[in-house]
Symmetry: C2
Subunit: 132 residues, 2 copies
DNA sequence: TTTGTTATTGGAAACCATTATCATTTACAA
DNA sequence: TTGTAAATGATAATGGTTTCCAATAACAAA
């Protein structure tokens, strides 16, 4: 039942919300829905493939809508290791995706993996943090 | 002075050990060294750049020696989302690294990031887990 | 409508990798 | 020898996530 609520929150933002972020947003509209249910719902949505779960190294999972009809465009992430800011970039995606696809095929064949997913992230210091 | 002990453990394996794995190995040779020191040492080695820290989504950090004189060859990872098995692959690395470098330059310029690092991982089901 | 059975829910407790605290030991300089 | 600072590790605390479980909702059968 919280399913629509969670998807709704995720569809309204470009940010990468944590479970608790999502809980707080959902809670404004549906105060009855608890944190446990948010975790449960997110888990289910990730399993279904409607939502992606990321780890950017700050100790909590982050979620975003998978691309698709209602979803965002495909993108990868640029993460500031100091302040945690995350940039969605789409500029080099086509080339990356082409290579990833090729690599996936090669890896599938060689290691007998059924590859379902990949992850590309860049880490560094954002402009603000470089100046500190 | 667990530094050598930790590096030694990491240099003897192709596995991706957790902090506790490393602690247990170190403990056999140096029973005096505690878990806290292992965490501290790992943190320092990661900061220095001698060791890489990874997250494969199972809730604990994994460590491996950075490539270099004493280190392993550069590789990326293929992770089984069911059993957690991790394969180091080196087959497509050259192409990947070339593209990553190019992408890094583009991203640095466009978003004013000082990029220090990148991450490529593939997720899927290994042969054994596909048959379950 | 009642009754019984099952699935869903959320609050609180448990879990567990990691981090912080702090008393103790070690290193080393004066 | 003595005093000060750094290093160490056992223990406690932290905090995101999971588990437990009693309460509620949903729904089927009578």
């Amino acid at each position: 039942m919280g399913r629509e609520a969670v998807l709704d929150v995720l569809s309204r933002t470009e940010d990468h919300l944590s479970a608790e972020d999502i809980y707080m947003c959902v809670h404004e509209t549906y105060p009855a829905i608890g944190l446990t249910s948010v975790y449960r719902t997110l888990d289910m949505l990730v399993n279904i493939g409607l939502v992606y779960k990321f780890d950017f190294g700050d100790g909590r999972a982050r979620f975003e809508l998978a691309e698709g009809p209602k979803g965002k465009d495909h993108h990868h992430h640029l993460v500031c290791t100091d302040c945690g800011r995350i940039v969605n970039y789409r500029d080099f995606i086509d080339e990356e995706v082409a290579l990833l696809k090729k690599t996936e095929e090669g890896l599938s064949k060689k290691y007998n993996f059924a590859i379902t997913n990949h992850l590309i992230q860049f880490y560094g210091l954002c402009e603000a943090c470089r100046k500190k």
